[in-house]
């Protein structure tokens, strides 16, 4: 399992509790859709879910940064997961959803198409992401879960955002060059 360290630490106590209650060793994920694909994110890092609202753009930011919103007085950046996954910008409507998550000390919002479900998964049911032999842009993929006839891709927050861990540049696969600009 590859949760972010902070999230794991925060979650561990409650995990224990949950395990006792479930009597099983399962982990819960919130699943959401981007296009036809279904993704899952550890429920313990999710703070709230809210409808899309207009953001304030951040100048010269990578394209997947949709700007900032006011979340009860806190300035929270919104990341477009579709763009982050290299599938172009989301055409936002009022029906789109922002998942507010906590990663480490930061609060960020993830723009997705819709939130669909909460699933309980035992670790043994998580399959590794198959190697496709491509220069993969998949360090944010945690694993795959088969659920009846659906497949859910589990997303790890730690790999999603440049500022969290690895050096800048490596995390801007959209190639809009704005990182290079900043460096210059």
């Amino acid at each position: 399992m590859q949760l972010t360290k902070d999230a794991a630490a925060a979650a561990s106590a409650q995990d224990d509790l949950r395990r006792q209650m479930d009597g099983g060793d399962t982990q819960q994920f919130i699943t959401f859709r981007i296009g036809d694909e279904e993704y899952g994110i550890d429920i313990m890092v999710v703070r709230e879910i809210k409808g899309w609202a207009e953001t304030t753009m951040i100048p010269n930011a990578p394209s997947h940064v949709r700007g900032v919103i006011n979340l009860r007085g806190v300035v929270v950046p919104i990341f477009d997961l579709r763009a982050r996954f290299g599938m172009g910008l989301t055409e936002t409507t009022r029906m789109h959803v922002v998942i507010i998550v906590a990663t480490g000390k930061r609060i960020v919002g993830l723009l997705v198409d819709a939130v669909s479900d909460i699933i309980s998964v035992s670790p043994s049911a998580i399959r590794p992401v198959p190697e496709m032999g491509l220069p993969a842009n998949d360090h944010f993929l945690e694993g795959l879960v088969a659920l009846d006839d659906r497949m859910v891709t589990l997303v790890a927050l730690s790999g999603l955002f440049g500022q969290q861990a690895a050096p800048a540049g490596g995390h801007a696969p959209d190639g809009d060059g704005s990182d290079a600009q900043k460096a210059a």
Binding site: M57, I58, A61, V68, P77, T92, D176, S178, K182
Partner: protein
């Protein structure tokens, strides 16, 4: 954190305050401005430092402060004349005390001979007097345990409940007694009630100590001096080893106790210590409330007044209360500038000595209050300005005399609050700015275009340019790699301005204007395309809509605006930030002339001015990262986030854009604005 460590921290926090007060008092005494009350205050400070040091077992600190305190005591009793030499020793002792406190705090070990000369002078002064009049205050045991003069004391110590309530710990007192000699302790538990009727926080015990010591009775009494009002204490000398009859001394407070105890108590009752973080949280919350209130007010204006009269009245009252609440909360964090000013006399004293100049500092308005956030960042620029005044302004004594001035130069440091801002002035009666020299140097460095003749004010302000601090002006004092440009940058980063006026031959005057707080900022709300930004009002010089004839293109450098005979470079905000749907023609939009770092004035091309507003500054970095050209964010009355422009940095990136291929700025354009 264990409780003792916490007390330790509190103790050192207190020490910092006490040292500051002591320093201020000593300065006043040295200047001849102090009176008996000042001396008492200094004494109390040193005394309190000693008291705490004893509890925590900082022996070196106890020993030194005791010596210091003894001399102060002699001064109070007029047994030592307050002449120059004595005051000099006191000043040095004050510095040494600060160092010893710092060493104790950092667990550092000071060299054996640390402050040996000061200790020596203190001793010499003390001995000089004690020969004439025997001091009632016996020296501290560490330096006074002469063998052969041991006595036995019987001490009966009955703490009252109040003693425990004031967080005094009998065990610590017992340990301190133990250090004085051979101690036998017997506890009298006869008053201890049965468990079921026992008050857990009451004091029931009584101790009888038998102490064999070479220390005098005063030292024993010193151990109890912080608790003597809260306990019953009998100290008597008993046989053997003594030929004297036992002297029973009732615990009458010594004369000095009468003056200080009530003062200490009233202070305690009137102030509390609060964690700054808690205050910050409160400030943030109130900021939120003000925003919400602004939102409500805006919304209420669409309501028909006759239908909801009480609702509208209520919202008006809320607005009033919210504003008052915000002011009060800000006032909690406000501190008098005294805490920064108090360090300056020392700067002047030390520097004047090393420069061979004579100068005094006069301070006014020290009680003016500003937000903690500003105070913290005021020290560096202020210190530098004082240094600058002393180094470049004040002339050597002979030169002053020749010029018909007083031998001793005066630096005036003043603070005042004026229309929501704080004005800090540093003026000197020195030689002033030699404009011819400054202008010559500026021309030599290409800072002033040949053929132009800047006005006097403009010449004076040339000294703030980064390139101006040159080898010639650098002395080992004020030129430690820091020029007036750094002062200016510091002040600007605080949202302030600095100006200088000078009269050659009779002095210079630096005037800083600073916001009262960094948490709130006066901003101009502007729009570019569909985006809204805040420009700090302090950065704005003027705003105008230029005529097409005034806009010129300089090949390879971009556009300039002809403004009253000067050419101001234009920065297109929509280009810097890749904003589409913006007005690209400055003649249809607005040009806001802003003061930027280094490059002087810059015209910022925007679409519209939306209005002036006070905004609460929020961090963008907390959840995202630093953004070039943006200094922070705020939340507008409509609940939307607006970014605050960092005008100085904006210019830098805009400069880059002029030399870089233009399309680089447009890369993210189509992508970002959906």
């Amino acid at each position: 954190m264990n409780p003792l460590a916490q007390f330790r921290q509190t103790y050192f926090e207190e020490c910092a305050g006490l040292l500051e007060e002591m320093q201020a008092g000593l300065e006043a005494l040295a200047d001849g401005a102090g009176d008996d009350e000042t001396l008492h205050a200094v004494f109390r400070c040193v005394h309190s430092i000693k008291g705490g040091a004893g509890v925590f077992g900082f022996d070196a600190l106890v020993a030194f402060s005791h010596l210091f305190e003894s001399l102060l005591d002699q001064l109070r009793d007029h047994r030592v004349p307050p002449n120059r030499d004595v005051l000099q020793v006191l000043l040095h002792a004050g510095d040494a005390l600060a160092d010893i406190v710092a060493a104790a705090r950092d667990d550092a070990t000071l060299p054996e001979d640390f402050a040996a000369d000061v200790t020596q002078s203190l001793r010499a002064l003390l001995e000089g007097t004690s020969a004439a009049t025997p001091a009632p205050h016996t020296p501290h045991p560490t330096e006074a345990s002469q063998p052969g003069e041991r006595h036995r004391y019987r001490i009966v110590f009955t703490p009252r409940t109040e003693l425990l309530e004031r967080a005094n710990e009998p065990l610590l007192l017992i340990r301190q007694l133990q250090r004085l000699g051979d101690l036998a302790v017997a506890a009298d538990t006869s008053r201890l009630p049965r468990l079921d009727v026992m008050e857990p926080e009451a004091a029931y015990l009584k101790w009888i100590f038998t102490l064999d010591t070479g220390a005098a009775e005063g030292s024993i009494r010193d151990v109890f001096e912080f608790v003597e009002d809260d306990c019953d204490l009998t100290i008597e000398r008993v046989a053997p080893a003594s030929t004297d009859a036992a002297v029973a001394v009732e615990a009458a407070p010594p004369p000095k106790g009468t003056g200080e105890a009530p003062i200490a108590h009233t202070v305690l009752a009137q102030s509390i210590r609060v964690d700054v973080e808690k205050l910050d949280r409160l400030v943030n919350l109130v900021g939120e409330m003000v925003i919400t209130q602004a939102m409500l007010t805006e919304e209420s204006q669409t309501l028909p007044t006759d239908r909801y009269p009480s609702l509208i009245k209520g919202i008006e009252a809320l607005a009033q209360n919210a504003r008052e609440l915000q002011d009060s909360v800000m006032a909690i964090r406000a501190q008098p500038v005294k805490s920064v000013f108090a360090r300056m006399p020392r700067v002047v004293r030390d520097l004047a000595a090393s420069l061979g100049k004579e100068a005094r500092i006069v301070m006014t308005g020290e009680t003016t209050e500003i937000d903690k956030t500003v105070i913290e960042q005021l020290n560096d620029p202020l210190t530098h300005m004082i240094r600058n005044a002393l180094d470049h302004g004040i002339e050597p004594p002979e030169e002053r005399v020749k010029a018909g001035k007083l031998r001793v130069g005066t630096i005036h440091l003043a603070a005042a609050q004026r229309s929501g801002r704080i004005i800090i002035e540093v003026s000197d009666d020195g030689r002033g700015i030699d404009r011819d020299k400054v202008l010559a140097k500026a021309r030599e460095r290409g800072l002033v275009a040949p053929g132009t003749q800047p006005g006097d004010d403009e010449i004076d302000n040339l000294i703030f340019l980064p390139a101006f601090s040159t080898a010639e002006t650098i002395s080992n004092i004020s030129g430690r790699g820091v020029g007036m440009d750094v002062v200016k940058r510091n002040v600007q980063s605080l949202g302030g301005r600095i100006d200088v006026t000078s009269k050659f031959g009779s002095g210079s005057r630096f005037v800083m204007s600073l916001p009262l707080t960094l948490a709130v900022l006066d901003g101009m709300v502007v729009s570019v395309g569909r985006q809204t930004y805040i420009v700090p009002l302090t950065a704005i010089i003027e705003s105008l809509r230029p005529k097409a004839a005034d806009i010129h293109r300089v090949v390879g450098r971009g556009d300039v605006l002809a403004l009253r005979g000067e050419y101001v470079p234009l920065t297109y905000l929509h280009r810097c930030f890749a904003i589409d749907q913006a007005i690209t023609d400055p003649c249809r939009g607005i040009v806001t002339i802003v003061q930027s770092e280094g490059a002087g004035r810059v015209g910022l091309v925007i679409d519209q001015l939306l209005g002036q507003q006070q905004v609460v500054v929020k961090s963008l970095e907390a959840n995202y990262e630093r953004v070039e050209g943006i200094s922070g964010a705020t939340i507008l009355g409509n609940g939307r986030v607006a970014l605050i422009l960092d005008v100085a940095r904006l210019n830098e990136s805009a400069n880059g854009s002029r030399s870089a291929p233009a399309n680089e700025w447009f890369d993210a354009d189509a992508l970002v604005t959906a």
